[in-house]
């Protein structure tokens, strides 16, 4: 494994250099804090950030994505036939992504890359993407990533991991994709002491995380026991059923397909959807199996903390980033709900 280091003062130049062959996404300061988005040429990922309100999910699953175009104009060739939108094959890199947000992309992949169906929209982006992570030395208090099978220094889903250390970034190249990116950016080879330095920083960062969730007992309960637990109405009382948690969440993968036309020209788009909304679950008959607000709240937590857990047998559908905790307008806290579920003792 190759160790790398780069002086902070050289960072901007390296990123400009890498943009000759890569399109970048990364954290940049916008109004009201940092946001993680596609960057314009010459825009440099700002690694001096605490958090981004919206997760980097958009890099592989845009808020709105055009899938097809069509024309209803019978004078035009190919009218009434959906035309695929060509895929941009420029190599892309998400630079400065938090390690647990990269893990979230792997969780999304479970939905979009299955034996039965391979989603070209997701996979084209995913396969073309290099993940250059920035470890988190000072995790926020709402961060509980270490109890979600990842953490502020999790290397498992990254191609390169960088960590801030004094006036430089030190790091490791973890994959072939990472090697290509490091070469394109001209990252200098670092000394052998870097590995132990990163290990030290990792220990220090992980020890700062005091917040955690347990789901060991949820696994042993039946779906119906949990579904019928008496606490859901209370959990969901405050919930106003907005989409804040689902949109901020790096692992929420639901989408809605829409046709939109102007005159005879139209597009078929795929948009983020939210299970908090009544339109998400209402049937064409008008019947809604989750008509009550609290039933929709229950569904989100059951999906993340029970259905996913049972189906994939790979932990919960949450990486512990804490965005939903911070942003929920009524302060519903997934850590508390998970605890409540795990502590529940169904009456026999």
């Amino acid at each position: 494994m190759k160790m790398i280091s780069i002086k902070k003062s050289d960072w901007a130049d390296a990123m400009k250099k890498v943009q000759e062959s890569y399109a970048l996404a990364g954290p940049v300061k916008d109004k009201g804090g940092h946001t993680f988005r596609e960057l314009e040429k010459e825009e440099v990922p700002d690694l001096d950030y605490k958090e981004t309100k919206m997760s980097p999910k958009e890099v592989v699953m845009p808020k709105t994505e055009v899938m097809f175009t069509y024309t209803l104009d019978t004078k035009k060739e190919g009218h009434h036939i959906l035309e695929e939108v060509p895929f941009d094959k420029t190599p892309r890199a998400a630079v400065g992504i938090r390690p647990y947000d990269a893990k979230a992309i792997e969780i999304l992949k479970k939905n979009f890359d299955t034996e039965d169906y391979k989603d070209p929209y997701f996979l084209n982006k995913y396969e073309n993407l290099t993940l250059v992570g920035l470890a988190e030395n000072n995790p926020l208090k709402v961060n509980f990533s270490t109890s979600c099978g990842t953490g502020p220094f999790d290397e498992s889903c990254l191609d390169i991991i960088l960590a801030e250390s004094g006036d430089e970034y030190i790091g490791k190249v973890l994959t072939e994709k990472g090697e290509k990116f490091a070469a394109a950016a001209g990252f200098a080879e670092g000394d052998s002491g870097i590995e132990s330095k990163i290990e030290e920083l990792k220990k220090a960062a992980e020890s700062k995380i005091k917040s955690s969730v347990s789901f060991d007992k949820i696994k042993k309960m039946t779906v119906l026991d949990l579904y019928e637990a008496p606490f859901w109405e209370e959990v969901g009382f405050a919930c106003i059923n907005c989409g804040t948690c689902t949109y901020a969440c790096p692992t929420c993968w639901c989408f809605d397909i829409q046709d939109e036309a102007k005159g005879a020209e139209g597009v078929r788009t795929r948009n983020w959807d939210t299970c908090m909304s009544e339109v998400y679950s209402v049937h064409t008959t008008g019947h809604d199996p989750r008509h009550e607000d609290w039933q929709r709240t229950r569904n989100r937590f059951m999906h993340k903390l029970k259905y996913y857990l049972d189906k994939y047998e790979d932990g919960i559908m949450c990486v512990g980033c804490g965005r939903c905790v911070n942003q929920c307008p009524v302060n519903i806290d997934i850590r508390k709900v998970c605890q409540q579920m795990n502590d529940y003792e169904p009456s026999k």
């Binding site: 009201g32 309100k53 405050a238 106003i240 949109y247 307008p329 009524v330 302060n331």
Partner: protein, 315 residues
Amino acid sequence: MNYYTDKIKEISKKILSDGKVDTVFGFRKGSLGYMSEPFMAKTAQAADKLVFDCNCRMNLVNYVTNRTGKIGIVVKGCDSRNLVTHIVENKIKRDQLYIIGVPCTGLADKDALLEAAEGEIDSVEDDGETVTVKGEGFEKKLSKKDILQSNCRTCIKRNPVIYDELVGEEVPELEIENRFEDVEKVETMSSDERWDFFNDLLSECTRCYACRNACPLCYCPTCFVDESRPQWVGKGDNETDVMTYHYLRAFHDAGRCTDCGACEAACPMGIKMRYFTRKTIKDCVEKYGFETGMNLEQRPALDQYKVNDPDEFIK
């Protein structure tokens, strides 16, 4: 306003034990130091969890729409005006309610608290004049008037207009020099400037609808943005669709909005959508001399017609 907590608990326990109400809608302490969570107490024991402070940013009237049974509800001045609107609009009956009125000294702006703190916030205490923010290695006393939510700075009714019991002495109402300074600023813009201003204002909207869902006025069984036959508005991030949503929502709230600020407090992206609703408030005040929800006898502004209603704006 922490000092109201004991009184709210006392009243709630009493009305729950006496069977006057089936449940009390209030707030409990949040998991974050600067948040309080809307909470439903069904027993006197549960009522022990009730709190009140400057972090109670949601409008609880939002939770009583079309409810059955008897409900105790904690309301500030603005919320109480929404209760009036709800009663007038037949969304709840007066005799279903036991109204616990809070003479309000204003809510703390969440972003202002986060900005003023020198680290992550563990607790926020509110004595009505001073707000004490504590976290690891810091304790900061802030003058409440410096960190108020912007709607609380132009509040016209801090004391509830309708209540069964007050939790404290009435507080003096504010003397405001120019209540609509912000709206006037927008009114003086050219239409191009205004277009850019609104575009910028809404540029980060994710259509999560937290503003709509936090709003007690937005109780339509199906909101126009969710209609599919016909579908009035696109669902993606198209800026015209985003604008259509915000403008239409403001129009729907015209003559009904009390400027409680729940929409802005709920917005995860910090969008100031009250620029739109406040224009409708200003027009109602200036054109019809109408203030929303001040008493149960008054019909809503857009629900009545007088021959001498101003009409010079109809062209």
